[in-house]
């Protein structure tokens, strides 16, 4: 566990110092959370609550996934293209520890920005509404548990793919994943932004999918090999 945390701390530190990722992430989080806060105050009391739930549900996931997507490129793919991972693989740390440490590092950064987004939406909406509107219990569960799990699952799967595939295949796959994922998230956003009520069912399904995906990817990392990583660098 100690080595996993060492890797995770290093990745978090590096990501926090990657200006491009942090600026884009913060800008994205702040801009969309402000926009959604304004959308929330358009509704009446009960409608506001639904809209607040929907905005937090959708936007925190969107921001988290987006930052996770950008960060895995830095943490997995770049380390492979720069051949830095070769030296790391010669240290007394195994591939699963490396993978898990990196996933934790990405999750810590992406979740921080995701949580920040949820917080901004709630704070700004409450200030502008001049009354206290709090998200429902499923949304709190979603923000506190489902979002970090789904970020970890997404980062883990993407990281695994980037370690396993060649660079060209990784780039193609990234594009193939990126476009539908964000189109899908946009569609969800449109749906929840109007009158869609967030219940325990939706949150539960998302949580179950994330846990399943994380477990499958963790299992698949058994199939990672140094040979595979080294021979797919070029």
């Amino acid at each position: 566990m100690h080595k996993i945390l060492v890797v995770a701390r290093k990745e978090t530190r590096e990501l926090m110092r990657t200006k491009s990722t942090m600026l884009v992430g913060l800008g994205f989080a702040f801009f969309y959370s402000l926009l959604n806060s304004l959308a929330v105050i358009k509704g009446k009391d009960s409608a506001s609550a639904i809209s607040l739930d929907g905005s937090v549900f959708y936007l925190s996931a969107m921001v988290g996934m987006f930052i996770a997507y950008m960060s895995t490129g830095q943490v997995f793919l770049r380390e492979k293209t720069d051949r830095v991972i070769e030296t790391l693989m010669c240290a007394p740390v195994n591939l699963r520890q490396i993978w898990l440490g990196k996933v934790l590092g990405v999750t810590a950064v992406a979740y921080s920005l995701s949580f920040f987004t949820a917080l901004v939406i709630m704070v700004v909406a409450n200030i502008l509404l001049k009354s206290i509107v709090l998200p429902g219990a499923p949304i709190l569960f979603h923000v506190l548990l489902v979002i970090p799990t789904s970020i970890a699952a997404f980062a883990g799967l993407l990281g695994f793919v980037q370690l396993r595939l060649g660079l060209r295949e990784s780039r193609i796959l990234n594009f193939v994943i990126f476009a539908p994922l964000f189109a899908g998230l946009y569609g969800v956003g449109r749906m929840v932004g109007s009158s869609f009520a967030i219940s325990w069912i939706q949150v539960g399904i998302l949580f179950a999918i994330s846990v399943f995906l994380l477990a499958v990817t963790a299992y698949l990392t058994k199939r990672l090999s140094k040979e595979r990583i080294v021979t797919t660098i070029n």
Binding site: V6, D82, V84, C90, P92
Partner: protein
């Protein structure tokens, strides 16, 4: 300690290594030389467990490094690429590996190493801003941070200025001499290898063409050369005339008042001196010229070309 036995590695249908074998004993500085694409880095990667062998085996203390995490705590590595993280500082780079290797007195150890490689004043600077030479020095510090018993170095002096190259050489000699660290050195720099290695292997086309000490290889692969100085030009002419009939003189090259003579294999220079003095030639000085590793290397390459 390091044992490579009948090691073969294929990439698709191409044989990169073709049944190579050698051993590196404890405390040795082993130089592994060869042209680009000869298979040096592939050999090192197989020994380190980064690649698998198609056939044969490569072990360190009888075990596969790739499969033995504990054994890797005794091995230091400096690969062709520095393996450094550009967005964090020099200190943080070393600290990362110090933690992975489970070093307890990290702060002191890192400070000493940074002082040693001359980067203590830049310890908080991001490595991305460093020059290639500085990165190489830092990577070398990282490779020895855990006091390894065996050190794998792939082109350690590449990109370094002459002063830094000397530092690396001195460090390697010190590690080998004082700490008894075994060193496996991949290098293009024949001068560097000649200066520091106790044993070398020359790899070409995936095969070991020579494997011995530098002195033995010199004896085996290059003919003895002697430089003879004479009192005047007349003596030079006389000597040239006499030597042209000798079957053990393969080449004569005239300099001002002397001649550089290449003898055939295994012929002792004393025989030539005896011959010349017997014939009344006034020889002022005769000395054996030491051939460089480069000469040995070129001779091996030429032999290969002839055989092909």
């Amino acid at each position: 300690m390091i044992e490579v036995q009948d090691l073969t590695r294929k990439f698709k249908e191409r044989n990169v290594l073709n049944g190579i074998s050698f051993q590196v004993k404890e405390g040795e500085i082993f130089g592994y030389i060869g042209p680009n694409g000869a298979g040096k880095t592939t050999t090192m990667r197989i020994i380190l467990g980064l690649l698998k062998a198609t056939a044969g085996k490569a072990t360190v203390w009888g075990q596969n490094l790739g499969e033995n995490e504990k054994l890797r705590t005794k091995v230091g590595v400096l690969l062709e690429h520095d393996g450094l993280y550009g967005r964090i500082s020099a200190y943080e780079n070393l600290d990362y590996y110090a933690q992975l290797y489970g070093i307890s007195n990290r702060e002191e150890k890192i400070a000493n190493l940074l002082e040693f490689v001359g980067l203590i004043d830049r310890k908080n600077d991001r490595v991305g801003k460093f020059s290639k030479g500085m990165k190489r020095k830092l990577a070398l510090a990282r490779a020895i941070i855990h006091d390894p018993d065996v050190l794998f170095l792939d082109e350690p002096s590449a990109g370094l200025d002459p002063e830094a190259q000397k530092m690396v050489r001195d460090l390697i000699l010190r590690l080998s001499g004082e700490e008894r660290i075994t060193i496996f050195l991949n290098s293009h720099d024949l001068d560097e290898v000649q200066r520091i290695c106790s044993k070398i292997a020359i790899l070409q086309g995936g095969e070991i063409k020579a494997y011995d000490t530098v002195d033995n290889l010199r004896d085996r692969f290059t003919n003895p050369v002697v430089e003879i100085a004479f009192s005047d030009n007349r003596e030079v002419e006389k000597a040239l005339d006499l030597m042209s009939s000798l079957d053990y003189v393969s080449d004569c090259e005239r300099h001002n008042d002397g001649i550089a003579v290449t003898l055939t294999e295994n012929k002792r220079p004393s025989a030539l001196l005896g011959f010349l003095t017997e014939k009344g030639v006034k020889v002022e000085e005769m000395k054996r010229v030491s051939k460089s590793l480069e000469d040995v290397y070129l001779e091996i390459v030429r032999q290969e070309e002839r055989n092909a």
